[in-house]
């Protein structure tokens, strides 16, 4: 459950305020019917919205379990008959997806760890220490979010080539040590700023240095924010297509997302094997979806903190 909305979901909203207005005391029966109709319309609209959102999802899963010959049946068949569980191993074994998964995990974990550690350190610096040029630098940091990534991609590609790191995982992971996610720094800084200074002052009086204060006192206090960043970072690196496309050439080094693209573009170009492609897409999405169900709160926190508190 999401903790943020517990206070507000129990508080009266606009509708209930309007419905309980003393003005309506003369015709309270009519009012109640009005508000009931309004409720029904609200739920009907919301349900229609959910249908639009869910139909593609269900179709993906339904297709992934179909026989190749049942793909184009009209009218569309929602529950496959028979259910082809084999599509999943078939799709997985059509290309070396074991290797792709290993590559994805390798780059995702390395990049994620470096991204979080460096973002936390930098955010702490911006949140807690006064130094000349800090505010200007922070505005620069925020404005780098607007730079199109494609613009710096060509020089970066040339740099990695000069360093002999094309077709290696290095460009996808090592750059994360340089706190490459400005939005993560921003999010963590917001969290650090909410912590009372007295806590650090007490630690300093007890003789803790900056490294100790940061790692033993401040980091545990911003754990929710770190988890929010962790899920966003996992998602971003797991799905990182652009970087993999540009820096990796050898099939054995592909991450899942590039393997999926290769699968879609080459293996089923003439006769698209939609059932296998949907099985593959489902498997690629599965870890993210699972993470979302278990850590939903952190997804939403990471998503909304910039918008609402900024």
């Amino acid at each position: 459950m999401i903790t943020n909305d517990t206070p507000s979901s129990s508080a009266p909203t606009m509708t209930t305020l309007a419905a309980s207005a003393p003005v309506s005391s003369g015709s309270s029966g009519g009012r109640r019917w009005d508000s009931l109709i309004v409720r029904v319309i609200i739920y009907a609209l919301l349900l229609a919205g959910v249908a639009v959102v869910m139909i593609p999802f269900l179709w993906m899963i339904s297709t992934s379990l179909k026989n190749a010959s049942d793909l184009f049946v009209f009218p569309p068949e929602w529950i496959p008959n028979p259910i082809q569980w084999n599509n999943y191993p078939d799709a997985w074994n059509a290309l070396p997806f074991d290797r792709f998964l290993l590559n994805t995990l390798f780059t995702t974990i390395l990049a994620m760890f470096a991204e979080i550690v460096s973002a936390a350190i930098v955010a702490y610096g911006f949140a807690r220490f006064r130094f000349p040029g800090r505010d200007v630098l922070f505005i620069i940091l925020l404005s780098t979010m607007m730079l199109p990534g494609i613009l710096t991609l060509i020089p970066k590609f040339i740099m990695w080539r000069e360093l002999g790191r094309i077709d290696t995982f290095t460009p996808l992971t090592v750059g994360a040590w340089f706190a490459w996610g400005p939005s993560f720094i921003f999010l963590l800084r917001q969290f650090f700023m909410t912590i009372p200074r007295e806590i650090e002052e007490a630690a300093t009086i007890d003789g803790a240095n900056v490294v100790q204060t940061f790692s033993q006192i401040m980091l545990p206090l911003v754990k929710p924010a770190l988890l929010a960043i962790a899920v966003l970072s996992f998602q971003g690196n797991w799905n990182n297509f652009e970087g993999a496309l540009i820096y990796l050439n050898t099939l054995e080094k592909y991450p899942m997302v590039l393997g999926l693209q290769f699968f879609g573009a080459s293996l089923s170009r003439e006769a698209p094997q939609w059932h296998l492609m949907m099985a593959m897409a489902t498997m690629m999405a599965a870890p993210i979806l699972l993470l979302f169900f278990f850590a939903q709160r952190y997804f939403i926190e990471g998503l909304t903190v910039g918008a609402v508190k900024g």
């Binding site: 999401i2 943020n4 909305d5 979901s9 009266p12 909203t13 606009m14 509708t15 305020l17 919301l46 959102v53 869910m54 593609p56 999802f57 179709w59 993906m60 184009f72 009209f74 390798f106 390395l110 470096a114 460096s118 350190i121 930098v122 220490f129 130094f131 800090r134 630098l137 940091l141 607007m146 730079l147 494609i150 613009l151 710096t152 060509i154 020089p155 740099m159 290696t168 995982f169 992971t173 090592v174 750059g175 040590w177 340089f178 706190a179 900056v210 797991w238 652009e242 496309l245 897409a281 690629m284 999405a285 979806l289 979302f292 169900f293 939903q296 939403i300 918008a307 609402v308 900024g310």
Partner: protein
């Protein structure tokens, strides 16, 4: 065989150790030159980002500006040759594909961003009406935003195939008005609408969740005050909710513009017909990495940057008219 993992691991550790050493080094140097403890610590802590800014942002930024005035085909020739404004002249006068790509990219954003924003605002408003099981609704609406762009793109390529689900579902309507089933991604006329449908499905949920959080953040006493002044439901929505939400709307708008102008991944999974044009970032990629025109691609990148800046400036400029900031934050 596994040496490529080892190579990256070594790089990774070397850079991490080097970074830590540099941070301590900067602190020690600053202290030696008599800089205060707080200032030195601050600079040492932001050092990773600062180095990254110089090496991975400002450096490449200037390099790409230089490259945009050169002809650079790194596979054949080792060095860029200076050709002045030729790339830009070619782009605006000779390259007909450029205009098609520009029209396609702008068309996508201009339709997609406002529709996504208005739709999400309506949904968030509905969800804010004291709806039961709000967490479940929010999860369901947010799901599309969690699905990887690659999976979304493949899914829509399949659903919008000429014999796909969307056409199947719409076939009664097609029969009624007597038109053929469109083949969305292979018909040049239909590619843009198809991408807009897919884009709406993808961003809608994320925007809804952000706006809902914004709505929940509006202090209740404002509504109480408005009620005492005798405001009706619509009047409260226009005079309290929208102004109080305008900061969040502004954020969603900016993020939406920047994101949609840079659509990239989806096009690689959909492989729509080339005659329709494509997204600017895809075109830049093709010029740079498929046709080996890195100079021309850099020039295209700079035009893209200018377009993004123009759009964001426009929104920022207009924001003073419609974004409401609380007293202490007014500038």
């Amino acid at each position: 065989m596994f040496s490529w993992y080892g190579l990256t691991l070594v790089d990774y550790v070397v850079v991490a150790v080097g970074m830590a050493a540099a941070m301590f080094g900067v602190y020690w140097l600053l202290r030696r030159f008599g800089v205060g403890r707080e200032t030195s610590t601050g600079y040492a802590l932001i050092l990773p980002w600062l180095i990254g800014l110089v090496v991975w942002t400002v450096g490449p930024f200037l390099a790409s500006l230089y490259l945009s005035f050169t002809e650079y085909a790194p596979i054949q020739k080792g060095w860029p040759t200076w050709i002045g404004l030729d790339n830009y002249v070619e782009m605006f006068t000779e390259d007909r594909r450029f205009w098609r790509v520009l029209r396609f990219t702008l068309g996508y954003s201009v339709i997609n961003v406002p529709l996504g924003l208005i739709g999400a605002l309506l949904t968030a408003t509905l969800l804010n009406q004291d709806v039961k099981a709000i967490g479940v609704w929010r999860t369901l609406y947010y799901l599309p935003a969690v699905l990887p762009a690659a999976a979304t793109a493949l899914l829509f390529r399949w659903m919008l195939a000429s014999n796909g689900l969307l056409n199947d579902m719409l076939s009664p309507i097609y029969n009624l008005i007597d038109v053929d089933r469109p083949s969305w991604f292979t018909d040049p006329e239909m590619v843009l609408p198809a991408y807009i449908i897919m884009g709406l499905w993808g961003v809608f949920g994320a925007n809804t969740v952000i706006l809902l959080a914004g709505l929940k953040n509006i202090p209740r006493d404002l509504y109480d005050a408005a009620k005492i002044d005798g405001a009706g439901r619509w009047s409260m929505y226009w005079n309290v909710t929208i102004p109080m939400l305008s900061g969040t709307l502004f954020y969603v708008l900016i993020i939406g513009i920047i994101g949609s102008l840079q659509t990239f991944t989806q096009a690689f999974f959909i492989q729509h017909t080339a005659r329709a044009g494509t997204f600017m970032n895809v075109y830049i990629y093709q010029e740079a990495f498929e046709r080996n025109n890195m100079g021309y691609a850099s020039a295209l990148g700079w035009v893209m940057l200018v377009i993004i800046l123009l759009f964001t400036l426009l929104v920022f400029r207009s924001s003073s008219a419609w974004v409401y900031y609380e007293g202490e934050r007014a500038k």
